[in-house]
Symmetry: C2
Subunit: 429 residues, 2 copies
């Protein structure tokens, strides 16, 4: 049994509890041991008692967690520099592993904290501090470890990326979109940290430590926010083939010095980063072996951030239970039933050649509607050589459904089924 204590029970803390609950079996299988929440630090027990079955888990005394001999891993999700920093220091000194989502504490105190962790032979993990659920830190530390990292471009603040996206999409002003974002809960009542680029700057300081092994502080960076980016500029940029994004840019120059900047940037609209929209975050990393890598996903929210926190907990748990559990987890392969292709669902793209005669189209659409298939889109082109080319996009249906239709079409005189390709109406990323 691996026991954890949570400092803080807001959005992320509740996300962590939720994930540990709903994926309990899955996580226990992976880790080879159970992960259990022993204590949760809250300000007011009454306020949170409805969220948890066993209210004895709740405490208002930090030492119930930090000095609790039962607890292996302390998970800090309070936010803010103090007292979070002090609690983390004390936890490390008490030889507890620490997982934190606190960008400010890591950005400002990384040297001290890493040193403390090393001295006391414990870990401090902070994947959730940058890019929410996207495994950016871990990819830099392990997955891309072979590389000397040359450059990182980050879209690391969901609020500002949402604002910039919506200004363009809705042709609204910064103020209008900010207000809307605030009313939807995508922006804070005081949005200064986000819109002035401070939040992104903290994250760039952390990435600089991990990717370039460099000590820098927020004050070493050039930081410019998005408050001066106007609808006019965004529309002109678009006309010129560019999109404006608030980028964190870290670069290891050829003379081994660093360039570290946070500012609004015009980037070519064809570039991958320009398709990172709304509240999504991304890191675009250039390594001297791998070339370009892009990692993207949701950068905030209780569940995505909770995913990073719980994955950090699991990584520590792997080591607590013996490293081979981590590596050989594929040894637990199971048999699962498989859906037959016939039962599988897709939309379908059909291209037909029809004899240029009356009622041909009617015949085709009747075959479709008799099989209960909706036509979502239809293109008919001018006839060439007495043949009309028709393209049909269907709604999502079962494969066996379309196989009948395809047979019927092929058996109909004057109809030739030229292509049939599956369609996936993925939600826009």
């Amino acid at each position: 049994m691996i026991k954890i204590g949570l400092l803080g029970f807001g959005n992320v803390g509740q996300g962590v509890l939720d994930i540990l609950k709903k994926n309990a079996r899955h996580i226990t299988e992976r880790v080879g041991d159970e992960i259990q929440i022993e204590k949760i630090l809250v300000r007011d027990i009454n306020k949170y008692s409805g969220l948890i079955q066993d209210t004895a888990q709740l405490t208002t005394h930090p030492e119930d967690i930090i000095s609790n001999a039962e607890i292996d891993i302390v998970v800090e999700m309070m936010g803010g520099e103090f007292p979070a920093y002090d609690y983390i220091c004390d936890a490390l000194k008490n030889r507890k592993h620490v997982v934190t989502a606190n960008k400010e504490v890591i950005s400002r105190h990384k040297e001290t904290l890493f040193k403390l962790a090393k001295e006391h032979s414990v870990d401090i993990y902070f994947e959730a501090a940058v890019g929410g659920g996207i495994p950016i830190i871990r990819s830099l530390k392990v997955g891309l470890a072979a590389n000397k990292i040359k450059k990182i471009y980050g879209i690391l603040n969901g609020t500002t990326n949402y604002i910039l996206t919506k200004i363009e999409e809705e042709k609204a002003t910064f103020e209008e979109v900010l207000q809307k974002a605030q009313s939807l809960g995508f922006a804070e009542a005081d949005p200064t940290m986000d819109v002035e680029g401070i939040d992104v700057a903290h994250k760039l300081v952390i990435l600089t430590a991990v990717a370039f092994k460099s000590k820098v502080q927020l004050e070493d960076l050039y930081v410019e926010g998005i408050t001066n980016v106007s609808l006019t500029d965004i529309m002109y940029a678009k006309e010129l083939g560019f999109t404006i994004k608030l980028l964190a840019i870290g670069e290891l120059l050829s003379n081994d010095s660093l360039s570290l900047k946070v500012h609004p940037t015009l980037i070519p609209s064809g570039h991958f980063l320009s398709s990172v929209k709304n509240e999504f975050n991304a890191a675009y990393i250039v390594g001297n072996a791998v070339g370009e890598v892009l990692l993207a996903g949701k950068g905030a929210g209780g569940s995505p951030t909770g995913s990073a926190v719980v994955s950090d907990i699991i990584d520590i748990a792997f080591d607590l239970t013996g490293a081979l559990n981590r590596r050989n987890l594929e040894a637990h392969l199971v048999e699962r039933p498989r859906q037959s292709l016939n039962e599988s669902e897709s939309g379908f793209y059909l291209r037909l050649l029809l004899d240029d005669k009356p009622h041909m189209m009617e015949t085709v659409t009747k075959i479709m509607s008799d099989a209960d298939i909706n036509i979502k889109k239809l293109l008919q082109k001018e006839s060439i050589n007495d043949k009309a080319e028709v393209v049909i996009l269907t709604n999502t249906i079962k494969e066996n459904h379309i196989q009948n239709v395809s047979q019927n079409l092929q058996q109909t005189k004057g109809v030739s089924l030229e292509s049939m390709i599956r369609v996936d109406h993925l939600n826009a990323f």
Copy 2:
């Protein structure tokens, strides 16, 4: 000293040697120990002796590596099912950790190999087998470990993605593009494995094991290649707002059964996956905590694939040298010089309001050219209220350069500098 033996010295093997050499200091610092190539298995020593300083490293006898007591990690990069599979089995039985880039061997023999590794308390890593340098396997195993994975969409074959991209871009036929790809070395002389989807299917089998912990074989999948995808269909799809990609689709359905398919698919052109072009690969993963995550990068080539192989070696080395070296690598933070903003380079977007009088434009362009700044693009709009709005995009210049220009412009009568935003002409991803 951690000693490795390479089985195979083709494109990837040479990439691995190259990375270990050029990033030697960086890797030694991270691992806390040196990684040294002890032996390399080749077919013909004379053929490869020019590629390596110490030809005593080369051998034609596999047992010089597999049974070598000095060697900690065996790195298999021969490709093909046999004899690679036998060598890997023997290496594991001899308690050597194994890193392999061999998708076919992992796809076909994963159960046996994972079992062997577990029995002999060693690791088998295979990040390079799927998606080249992109850390997909490791993200599924660790970075997203908190999640129950619901769905994976993969663009996992560079050759077919290149062909589909070029058919659309160059309005050429499948055959024309295939020939060109073959002449450029992007497609094999016999492209069957790629264009028929077999290569992708092997990779989906591997992802199914890692993401869904499920035993499946290639024969369990529905597999359809791209040979029937025509220019006509690609252009119609585009007209309808879709892009055609060869997708690997793995889905854990609500009844816990699996749907596993490889086929050409129309996906909405606005979706992130549709911007994965040419030889790039990507995995789009949906987890029940993190939501959507996209990982993209180069899926083939000696250096990107070498990046994955060497990162796997480093991950094993972390464990060989003690886990805390892996985690606390940030404890080695160093001071680096930082480039001042003045020395930093960007393109610039300038928006100006000019009095609607003769020679105003001339005045502006003279200020630019006197400062040796090239105008890359210029937009001038119709005057409103006696003011002309002008937008200028410059080439890439130093910051101190533009600061002078900006001062000059602001001091010029009849000129008002409304906005100045940096531009990064990122190479299209």
